[in-house]
């Protein structure tokens, strides 16, 4: 009798575990660049999103992305690449963003960040985010050629058109001042 009860309990427990597979905390970690273009010596914004899709809170969540952005090729302008969240409740999400500045141009492979968290029963989960993949870091000059405001071009253009436009305007004014009667007649 006692034995069968135990078996029954085990079966029920197993069934419960199978039935709700995501009973524990389950964190989906997401990494994506918010800037359209990565340009050397210009700000580049990255966003990390942590979504707890499990049924229980995740504890001691750490997000570590220090290895993806080596400091010899990236400056960290704002934000931390290693953050710690004490708890992410079930169904909640956290977004974290970092501003970095690439020091050199060329192709760069954006790899994944690592997330660790503890579920209720104190077992460590190691999770890896998605990989944004290979991206090109533009040269500053290339970027300026495409997107920067071209003030110097406009200045040169103005200098070029000044003699023709302004000269003819001055001539017009001069000859107009010689005929004051026309102006008088028109006004009356």
């Amino acid at each position: 009798m006692n034995y069968s009860l135990l078996v029954f309990l085990v079966v029920v427990a197993y069934g419960a575990e199978v039935g709700t597979q995501t009973q524990d905390a389950f964190i989906l970690a997401h990494k994506q660049p918010l800037s359209t273009y990565a340009v050397e010596n210009m700000d580049f914004v990255l966003e990390y999103g942590l979504y707890n899709v499990g049924d229980k809170p995740a504890h001691k969540v750490t997000l570590d992305d220090r290895h993806s952005f080596p400091t010899n090729s990236f400056d960290i302008v704002k934000g931390l690449l290693h953050v710690h969240f004490e708890q992410i409740p079930a169904g909640a999400n956290v977004t974290h963003s970092v501003v970095i500045r690439p020091r050199a141009y060329g192709f760069f492979n954006y790899t994944s960040a690592q997330v660790t968290y503890y579920t209720d029963n104190e077992n460590l989960h190691v999770s890896v985010t998605n990989t944004p993949g290979e991206g090109y870091i533009y040269r500053q000059r290339e970027y300026d050629r495409r997107f920067a405001p071209k003030y110097t071009f406009f200045l040169v253009f103005l200098a070029l058109i000044t003699p023709t436009t302004l000269g003819s305007f001055i001539l017009l004014q001069q000859s107009k001042s010689r005929f004051p009667a026309i102006n008088k007649k028109k006004s009356t």
Partner: protein, 257 residues
Amino acid sequence: MKLSTVFLLAALGFCAVYAADVVDGEVTDDAPRNAQEEDDLTVGASPDAALAFHFVQPADANILHEFYTGKPVKFLIGFQNKGEKDFTVKFSETSFRFPTDYNYHLQNFTRAEYNRRVQPKEEVTLDYGFYAHETFAGRPVGLVVNVHYQDADGNVFVNNVFNQTVNILEDDSGFSGETGFLFILFIALSIGGLYIANQFLSKLSRKSGLSKRRVVEQGTSSEVDFEWIPRDAVRNKEKRSPAAGSPKARKAAKKAD
């Protein structure tokens, strides 16, 4: 007898496929695909893998199951390796199905190749995104997301992570360039029409008004209107102008003096 016919048919089929291969490349695409689809039906999920699915964009899609056309739909797939062997997540395939018959594919999206290895007790998040086309606006479609993965022994598994009907709504928020420019064009046309009407009306009225005193050009009158000529020009002329009359007349005048 029966065996021989089977062999014959098989040989015929093989020949047909082979011939088709040589003639036309399209058939080669179909044959493996069919085979794979059949595989998909038989292959199931691994008990050592736990998968999760979550929409990131739009944020309320997890509850409402609604998308807007022309706006990105992004989702995450979580893969957890609970077993003792490595898994390799090969790819995920996303497709729109007919809501009443999920075997009917409305649209297959480009499959996302991941090829990520997941070590035991490790988790990986994968992402994918797509746009719903305008032609799906205002009707429900079945969204199916399958994840294909392998274990270390090369066994193929397929997990279905999302298999529900979603509503696709027309995006009527935001500024639509087409209608915006249409409005600008209409405004411009109406202003132009007003201007033309004004011109036409004023011309009509002026004609009727001017008809009383029409000025007829009669050549230059002898009186010079000095008001029109700049003063300096008049002065120059006064200085320089020689005596009136021809040189002969002038000589005659001198003699007479």
